[in-house]
Symmetry: C2
Subunit: 510 residues, 2 copies
């Protein structure tokens, strides 16, 4: 038997780390869904132990030696293995640049933050979480600074961005967001004025029993492509999310008796994430090249399902029939396709990001991006976050939340130390529009089949052009091969203009 | 800040390993209870990764160096810390004596064996599992041989025994089992004859709805001391078991529409295990000294609840009322306390260990002990297991199972490589009787309070004398301090004689 090469050793080591990380995701989901109340600290101890362990594995001097040796001999590797090796190095730099103590504390913040959020956010009492947010941001800043130094980036914030979306730079985000901001400032008032002159939607009043909603949610998750042979959908009270491993996907939704839309669109959104994971290339399982492309592309896959497909006219024609069956309300005009469109294709300022419509949503993200960047850069203090939040909401959306539960305490990201994540939502929305437009061009049956509740043509296109690529391509190559151009805002603006203004987008002449 | 001592480093390292092992237990329970069908291989990969990781942590040269240094300086440690250090060394010897490949394979057998068992045992088709059993025993033999060499033990089998019950030696097991075997050969025929002359029990016929059984199971688990703030009881189809960590206890039971006894006694048995875990000393959490005393003592804690307390007359007086309420059968003579006693205090030969009564149960264990010892020692081949099993059943219990599902394929232990575990059940039954007799002597309210459904006096005695001791005492010291004598069969024989012969046990004059 020949000695394993350095690259073989790296593959085995990265596979073990991936398995440990996936185990941690399952344990976190168990914490959200079934864990007994008095067991939380114990679970946090387990998650911290796994975090410390993967960190220690990555910091083992042998990993650095194997990387050096494999890189020196990479002419022997296939192009795909070279890409995998490149991604291993990137991951190593991200993980190994953190001192042990800092890595441990960041891991604790991630593990405890969700619990602290869940326990406190409903109260809206900022004083209960201010110190935790201060700590969470301080740790994130230290993490950003440590990585910035090693990666030669422009700022600590840029290093945090790169954690979630490999290769994403602060200047790019600024440019995209500023273009979007400019266009939305023109489009939103026009959409509001247009809505005023249109007939109002009929109110859709419940109760809509949660059990019935969950039956529908399970059916819709399957319909849009979620493989229930390798995944589970749960109902919980907290923030919906998707986690687990490609072959063991765990998604959560929530149910509200008076509003099935929240539940349905949370379900299909998280199913969209899950489908991406489930269709990643099995041949590269547990390797960096087999992983997803970062959260921007991940969010594009949740949003292509949620906003592009499941809020399209063809899908609402289909959904109308399903709703009438599910809730025993045949021919209820409130559940007609027409009324669903009037209800959903309606934009208004709101406090809660996850409940915002897709036209105003980017402004929620631009606000968070602005605030978190200022805090990390030291030009805003965490103690001033509620006021800065309220000012930003007033300026951008013209509304001020009544308390912090509808303001700066609403999201789980900041208390978990996930600073730099938010931009991915809006980059994902842009990507979703761009991918969906390309899918419709490539296969004209995509949209007509959705009217019949058949997502196979869309799923096939996604799998062939995005999912099966894993991280084998760069971000620009992925978009260019799939759509003909790198990620840009054009398709998203076209989409918003068609849906909310009822006409094609014409830059400069709104 | 002073440098951490070698002992401090050991404590941190053992705590991390315990947390990883507890994580693996939770992931295994998730696999049993909710995991999607297509996700099994992925989960097995995670469990193998955790097993490899804990093994690698233990085999790190620094651990050996810290042990050497800490032992050289142990005069600075408290007596309890010295005990903890002693247990660390024992654990290190057990784990570090395995070569990497063998440790990995043993870990895979443990992870995959349960799944293979679940998929196949009902078929009773030995040919489906023969190769896996052969492999599982072969790996166990290699493990036993590797450890035997390092521990200076008499046989590979003795090393396997020590894995589950620290300090237990093959000669002790032989001696106890041979005494028991001799006494039971006299007692069992007398019990059968006595039963024949007594009135037959009324048949207890279902259906007993599973939902109602689970409501009762949850209530009984709490009643006997299970802390539901730090634990979960699930219903599954497979083998009931207890796992998790002290602060996150996961127990499973099963329900059968026609027989609530199986469900109830599985529940209180597993709850008994869980209570032991939940009351281990919190100050020693995640350290060897805070762990349980091995499976013999662990089984004594399940059996003190199941057989000693929950099959006692006082408890059956209580249970009769609960059953009549649960199944809406007030005054049903089949559910009278008298009829419960006639039904439960009835001994008969049976095929399935977990359904055997406590009088014949030891013979099931003695059979398994005999067979597994012979296989490990090389005097029996795995291919001959079904015949040897059937011969042993005929010789000991006078019955031959119709197929291997009721024979050598019935238990999960062998396919998971848990060779050397079975003796713990009967050592546990002996210990349970000895502890219960001592508890009744120490607190005369123990039994009367059980009539009222109050387990507090019993739980208090268990916590003070057994649970809170963790592994701070040796096995002999634990028994001697709690009961006045080391573990012996006297109290168990007294108990069996009182319950099944209706008179005190008189050695030599049956």
């Amino acid at each position: 038997m020949s000695q394993p090469s350095s690259y073989d050793n790296l593959k085995a080591t990265f596979a073990r780390m991936r398995n440990l990380s996936y185990a941690a995701e399952i344990l976190s989901k168990d914490m959200e869904t079934v864990l007994a109340k008095g067991s939380h600290q114990d679970r946090i101890n387990q998650l911290v132990a796994i975090g410390e362990t993967t960190h220690a594995i990555m910091c083992d001097k042998r990993v650095e030696d194997w990387l050096d040796d494999a890189e020196a001999n990479q002419q022997n590797l296939s192009a795909e293995d070279q890409r995998n090796l490149h991604l291993m190095r990137r991951e190593w730099v991200h993980e190994a640049s953190l001192p042990d103590d800092l890595a441990r504390e960041a891991s604790r913040v991630a593990a405890e933050g969700e619990q602290i959020h869940t326990q406190n956010y409903k109260s809206g009492d900022w004083s209960k979480v201010r110190d935790w947010y201060t700590h969470s941001f301080a740790i994130a800043r230290q993490v950003g600074q440590a990585k910035q130094a090693k990666m030669g980036l422009a700022s600590a914030y840029e290093a945090l961005l790169d954690q979630f979306s490999p290769g994403l730079r602060a200047a790019q985000v600024e440019q995209e967001f500023s273009a979007l901001d400019k266009a939305l400032r023109v489009m939103i008032p026009e959409a509001f004025a247009r809505q005023k002159s249109a007939p109002a939607a009929l109110p859709i009043t419940g109760p809509f029993p949660r059990e019935a909603q969950m039956v529908l949610n399970h059916a819709l998750a399957k319909l849009v492509g979620f493989d229930t042979n390798r995944g589970i959908l749960y109902a919980i009270d907290g923030h919906p999310s998707s986690a687990g491993s490609p072959d063991d996907s765990r998604i959560t939704t929530r149910c509200n008796d008076t509003d099935f839309f929240d539940s349905i669109y949370s379900t299909v959104h998280e199913a969209g994430h899950a489908i991406y994971g489930q269709n990643l290339p099995a041949a590269w399982r547990y390797q960096p090249a087999g992983d997803h492309m970062g959260m921007g592309v991940h969010e594009s896959q949740s949003m292509i399902i949620e906003y592009q497909a499941c809020m399209s006219g063809p899908f609402l024609d289909y959904l109308s029939g399903e709703l009438q069956k599910t809730f025993n309300r045949a021919n209820d005009p409130a559940l007609s396709a027409e009324n669903l469109k009037r209800t959903l294709w309606h934009s208004q300022p709101s406090f809660i990001r996850v409940q915002a419509d897709e036209l105003t949503y980017p402004l929620h993200v631009i606000l968070r991006h602005d605030l978190e960047q200022r805090i990390i850069n030291g030009t805003l203090e965490v103690k001033d976050l509620p006021d800065a939040w309220n000012d930003g909401m007033k300026q951008r959306l013209g509304v001020v939340p009544p308390d912090a539960s509808k303001g700066c305490m609403q999201d789980v990201h900041w208390p978990c130390g996930m600073i730099g994540y938010f931009p991915a939502y809006t980059l994902g929305a842009m990507g979703a529009a761009q991918f969906f437009a390309a899918a419709k061009r490539a296969d004209p049956t995509v949209l007509p089949e959705i009217t019949k509740g058949n997502f196979k043509p869309l799923n096939d296109w996604q799998r062939a052009n995005i999912h099966s690529k894993g991280s084998l391509l760069s971000n620009n190559d992925l978009f260019t091969k799939a759509t003909g151009a790198p990620l840009n805002a054009q398709a998203y603006l076209n989409h918003l203009s068609e849906r909310y203004l009822g006409r094609p987008y014409t830059p400069g002449t709104p």
